[in-house]
């Protein structure tokens, strides 16, 4: 075992364990905090995959914004969030079966693929992936269209969300 492998194993146990807490814990605020732990673990994985920009972006977007938005939403719907009864619907056993079957199927499918255990290739040191990403995002023969469409998507999400949530009466 190399040190990197040990770090990977610790991180993945952390990610999966806290993900399990997210889907099972009764207290919704706790679920949101466990979600933060899980997403932070994913950021650590990005660092190990040498995608440093994605790692910090993950922390900024998911922990800094999405998690806070979720906690706000939980606080705004208090009567339901305080519900201490069972938090799962009656057919949760089926959910377990479906999830387990999907996991088994995915693993089987992936292990039959010949690129399954590719070793990690050397990263060419001359190109800075960050600068590459920046160029690709605004270059016409790369991703400029998705880039602008993402902006429109976010704009429509903003307008739609304000329209739905905003209610002058309760303001």
């Amino acid at each position: 075992m190399t040190p990197l492998q040990i770090i990977f194993l610790i991180t993945s146990v952390g990610i999966l364990g806290s993900a399990l807490m997210v889907v099972t814990t009764r207290n919704l605020v706790h679920a949101a905090l466990w979600l933060v732990v899980s997403l932070f673990g994913v950021a650590v994985l990005y660092v190990m995959l040498s995608a440093a920009f994605l790692a910090v972006a993950q922390v900024v977007i998911y922990i800094g914004a999405i998690a806070i938005l979720m906690i706000f939403a939980i606080m705004l719907t208090r009567r339901v969030a305080k519900d201490s009864g069972p938090q799962t619907n009656p057919n949760w056993t089926w959910a377990v079966v479906v999830a387990a079957a999907l996991f088994g199927g995915l693993t089987w499918l992936l292990s039959s693929w010949n690129g399954f255990s590719t070793p990690i290739p050397e990263l060419s040191s001359r190109a800075d992936p960050l600068s590459q990403l920046g160029q690709a995002l605004v270059s016409p023969n790369a991703y400029v269209l998705p880039f602008e469409v993402a902006s429109v998507l976010l704009l429509s999400a903003l307008i739609g969300a304000i329209m739905v949530a905003w209610d002058r009466r309760s303001g």
Partner: protein, 407 residues
């Protein structure tokens, strides 16, 4: 050369290698030593800051400040720490124990982590992350989460309300902050803080004064210091999200806030005031540390100066100031500077900087004109006589009452 800290580091590294350790283990040990040295130095500085803060406040208010314990009262903060350590620690009823205890740790821990990327001199820095600026933003995000945790876990209405107000303020001011932080990144073509300092042959504050000002203002708001200290607002919500914290746990929030103020000074010094740059700092890196702390402490003093000179502003004014003034202004200056940067040739650094400065002055002047006009109409609106409550004829009052109750 001529840099004792690098020499000590090299000597230690060679010593470890001579013991026959593997390179990975050596770099791990060096990292641990580096972290412990930086963190404990910063914490000692933090204790000193308590004294500095109290002394400076006293001077602003024409008092003497602590002057009994030790010369000039310099041992006072240590006495404070001992007092906090032996105070009883109260866990309020219904508090969520783990989250409650985690929150103060996060409050101080995130501030400590910021020092991992701040370059103290050309040779002394934790690490030169190529995403340094976003790393700072990310840590700010984690500290916001810590505040929510503190407010929610305390099981106290006022704490929860204070936490929500704080977070609303912090996330609001983070928008212009992040936009303004893009400007030094564009000017230096890098997010690494070391690279940003290297790029400042002319301090960025002279090239981009408006973004520098925006970063200063929004950072003060992020700190929750006056005039943006609505989160503490003793008369409204007791003391904000940390009402229920006693003893050392409160002390950690307090220490975190003080240290954060100095750290913000350091960040702004790095991004806009040339960091460790100064006469002779390249040949003698030890001078760089000195310059860095001079600049950081100067900005810290500016933050204190603002804090003790201005009254607290109203919450609607605070939010308007952010959304209707700072955010548009930062977007405009970002767009203008990005385009001008591409148009003006970079052959002569002096011409380039002068053009940038000119652009900033023009935008600033236009903003002032706009504000002046706006202020006039706002004054007219406020000065209008308010409708006075007077008894209305009974039938209409009755109908309006029934209609309002039915709606």
């Amino acid at each position: 050369m001529g840099d004792p800290i690098t020499l000590i580091g090299k000597w230690l590294e060679n010593l470890l290698y001579s013991w026959g350790l593997m390179p990975g283990v050596v770099s791990l040990i060096m990292a641990v030593i580096g972290v412990v040295v930086i963190a404990s130095a910063v914490l000692v500085l933090d204790i000193l800051l308590v004294w500095v803060e109290r002394k400076v406040v006293a001077r602003f208010q024409d008092r003497l400040g602590p002057n009994r314990v030790g010369p000039f009262g310099i041992i006072q903060p240590i006495a404070d720490v001992i007092k906090l350590l032996i105070k009883e620690d109260i866990l309020p009823i219904g508090a969520d124990k783990i989250v409650y205890n985690l929150a103060p740790i996060m409050a101080l821990g995130t501030v400590l982590l910021l020092w991992a990327v701040l370059p103290l001199s050309s040779t002394v820095y934790g690490t030169n992350l190529n995403v340094g600026v976003l790393y700072i933003v990310a840590l700010g995000a984690i500290s916001t989460l810590g505040i929510i945790m503190a407010g929610w876990a305390s099981n106290n209405k006022y704490a929860l309300l204070g936490a929500f107000r704080t977070v609303a303020q912090m996330v609001s001011y983070e928008v212009p902050l992040v936009i303004a932080l893009l400007v030094p990144v564009i000017l230096a073509r890098s997010m690494g803080l070391t690279d940003i300092v290297e790029a400042q042959s002319i301090w960025f504050v002279f090239i981009a004064p408006i973004p520098a000002l925006i970063v200063l203002i929004t950072s003060i708001a992020e700190l929750g210091r006056a005039p943006f200290d609505l989160i503490e607002a003793e008369s409204e919500i007791v003391a904000g999200f940390h009402i229920e914290y006693t003893g050392m746990k409160f002390g950690l929030f307090y220490a975190g806030e003080l240290l954060h103020a100095l750290t913000v000074g350091g960040i702004i010094a790095t991004l806009f005031l040339g960091g460790w740059r100064g006469p002779g700092a390249e040949t003698y890196p030890i001078l760089g540390i000195f310059y860095f702390f001079i600049k950081a402490l100067f900005l810290y003093w500016v933050i204190m100066w603002i804090k003790y000179s201005l009254p607290r502003i109203r919450i609607d004014h605070m939010l308007n100031f952010n959304w209707k003034f700072l955010t548009p202004l930062s977007l405009v200056i970002l767009i203008v500077m990005a385009i001008v940067d591409k148009i003006v040739p970079k052959t002569s650094m002096l011409v380039y900087s002068l053009v940038m400065l000119f652009v900033n002055v023009v935008v600033g002047w236009l903003t002032l004109q706009l504000l002046r006009r706006n202020a006039k109409s706002a004054r007219m609106r406020v000065a209008e006589p308010k409708p006075v409550a007077r008894p209305e004829p009974s039938p209409t009052a009755a109908t309006s009452q029934t209609s309002s109750s039915s709606s």
